[in-house]
Symmetry: C2
Subunit: 431 residues, 2 copies
């Protein structure tokens, strides 16, 4: 089941693994206490990078696709977590309206939607699919690779409620990250539960806010374990007023890249790490791995060619990029069958329900792997044989490594919870 | 993974399976609403009997042993359910004191204790074992079959609190069914959570109360599905003042056996079932399958020999039997490799976390299988491949059958919740 993984077996990560394993009850209790104060996002996936000397989340997705990449063995964990989530949010729930991405006939994505539908049906809900796509005016069947099909239906808005024809849901689950903006049909739904909330979508969400919250979480957690937060935290600086296509704001960007690189260099020196620091520039809003670039020297930004500029300036759903995040690059030293790999951890409610390795044969250890050509190796993160085994030599046990991944991914999920509280436009109403 | 099962593939059970699968969201919602009003027992295992024409729980254990019989694949479900349970009961919990059965060096049972310890450690608790056995006066290592060992320690009572030397738990988990009575050391613990509560132990619990509560639950559920509750409910009548060794009270017992047999005969006629009815006599308090006998005719009770009388009169921990339950016998038509089999479903909090078949090669389809010589075939009840698949032909799909088993087992768990509410000596304090 577990693919052959080449991970760095020495260095600070092994000490971290050791400390995390020894502290398991304290860590689980710490999370329990945090979840008493903060509400976990409904579902979350987190991309991690394990450099051997450092392990950090680099992307926290609040509208996870890819549930189809989890092994079938893991699905009961998702069903159980979904039951727990529904019970807390809306125990009387009967109907769930699932809103997937628009305009997609990508069978991989549809398979994710089918998996989500299955999970929530088995958790005890009548699940139907509604689409934000205005071109869908009647129930439309979409074919999946396995020969089955999914029916998406046009949304019906009725004063304060959203539904489908003859379908009035009490809960609406978004699997659409709202990159194109918040559709009017989703606004002012006061009678129904909309999950995740609108401000979790990329129309309003900012990576810089997430990583600021993550820094706070990482510091708290590091204090609990008595360690340097840098070991689990990628330095991140937002830069505004950037226009790649017009070549504007690039000096300010260069300055921040320089800053991040020199801070990283200092840390590498402190830990005796013989690597060349790099930074990653990514749009402050947006996902799908679009508009991401790796920079090893701020000067590279001077000589950007037209193609690179275009690639950086427009991302998913045609959104222009004007604010970016400069993030300390975290090299991945993990390999699956010689291809560069990074772990992705899936969570529902507060629970780790599975994960997989995203691998990319044509990319380097310092590059974004969320790109065309990537593939997935499901990992039974949560299988019993993958449950942690205290006493194993650090770095030698895959289960122990996966437990650590689940801990760091949950820190990123907790940061998303902090972030959503801070950015909630209705926060004062409930305060 | 799934052993070859010979189950009855025709008759009312298939209609029931069909109805249960079609009603899955309604059933799950019904449970959700019930759990809003009632607290599930901390953990539960339920023995089921599938007669092909009828499926019913015959024993609901509130101190389940046998967690070691679940497959390793299922353990993450237990860990997740344990996390959910702890979070609700005592989120700030740090230490858990687990009290196993006394005087046991049975390595199968110890392996169950080790599994429980592992589950709660991974759910984030420091777990230590304390024993009620007065002979244990210092920490004592008990060896397991796999070469590992467990340490049990003497209990330390300190005014209102119970613990071990240098170990002050906020939660005490009993895996000891208190057949021998309620030990004084467990009484009046007002500052700590004692789970399950004392009145769940066999010192106070009565099967007749459980099956009375189960009748109520079965009727409610059957109304939801529009079906005859008899299909999931074994008729049960308590009889007091029975003394097998002195031969007293046997006429009253015969009368009740006659009644149960004639009622069963009537039902068999109604459903066109060509089987000989039988009744099972079991102690109203007590477990371990002791003091259980199958009766096909009330007259059999007249001619009981000395050996049978002795077997019926004294059960676990030397307790004498004076009150029994006469229960409609439910034949099992399931076989694993030609041996008679009955499913056992494990739950933690409100979740089905696994199950197995108890098989006994030397027993008949109408006999108690919980007896020396039984063995266990782990079943991945909760594996994804075991999640229900609507659309399959009734009776043809093991996953669908297992989903149905999980539903009926949860009905018995819900009945235990009703039962514990009714028998709670402190109920008025909290009302």
């Amino acid at each position: 089941m577990v693919p052959h993984l080449t991970t760095a077996l020495t260095g600070p990560i092994n000490e971290l693994e050791q400390r995390i394993l020894e502290s398991m009850p304290a860590i689980e209790r710490w999370f329990r206490l945090e979840w008493m104060e903060h509400t976990p996002p409904f579902y979350t996936s987190v991309d991690l990078r394990n450099a051997g000397f450092k392990l950090a989340p680099v992307d926290t997705n609040l509208f996870p696709g890819g549930f189809n990449n989890l092994t079938a063995d893991m699905l009961p964990l998702s069903v159980q977590a979904a039951m727990a989530a529904i019970e807390k949010i809306c125990p009387e729930a009967k109907n769930l309206l699932l809103i997937p991405e628009n305009h997609t006939r990508n069978t991989f994505y549809l398979s994710n939607v089918a998996t989500l539908k299955r999970i929530f049906t088995q958790a005890g809900l009548n699940v139907r699919l509604g689409t934000l796509d205005p071109d869908v005016t009647e129930p439309t069947a979409l074919n999946l690779a396995d020969g089955s099909s999914l029916t998406v239906e046009p949304l019906v808005r009725n004063r304060g409620r959203l539904g489908l024809k003859d379908f009035d849901p009490c809960t609406i689950l978004l699997n659409n990250d709202l990159s194109a903006g918040v559709p009017r049909v989703l606004e002012h739904l006061h009678e129904q539960y909309l999950l995740p909330p609108l401000h979790a979508g990329w129309a309003l969400r900012r990576k810089s806010q997430h990583f600021k919250a993550y820094e706070e979480v990482a510091k708290k957690f590091s204090k609990l374990l008595g360690m340097d937060p840098w070991l689990i935290h990628p330095m991140s600086v937002p830069v505004e007023g950037v226009d790649f296509s017009e070549g504007q704001g690039l000096e300010a960007l260069q300055a921040q890249v320089d800053l991040v690189l020199s801070k990283t260099r200092k840390k590498y020196k402190e830990y005796g790490i013989n690597e060349k620091p790099f930074a990653v520039i990514k749009p402050d809003a947006g996902t799908y791995g679009m508009g991401v670039m790796t920079v090893r020297d701020a000067k590279e930004l001077v000589d950007l060619n037209r193609r690179s500029r275009n690639k950086m300036s427009v991302i998913k759903d045609g959104q222009e990029v004007h604010q970016v995040l400069v993030q300390e690059g975290v090299v991945t030293h993990e390999r699956v069958n010689d291809a560069v790999a990074e772990p992705v951890v899936y969570m529902m409610d507060r629970y780790v329900v599975g994960g997989f390795y995203r691998i990319h044969a044509d990319r380097g250890a310092d590059e974004n792997l969320n790109a065309p050509g990537s593939s997935f190796v499901p990992l039974a993160f949560a299988q019993s044989s993958q449950l942690p085994r205290p006493g194993e030599k650090p770095g030698a046990s895959a289960p122990n490594r996966f437990y650590m991944y689940g801990v760091i991914a949950r820190l990123a999920m907790l940061a998303a919870s902090y972030e959503l509280e801070l950015t909630d436009p209705e926060a004062e109403v409930y305060a």
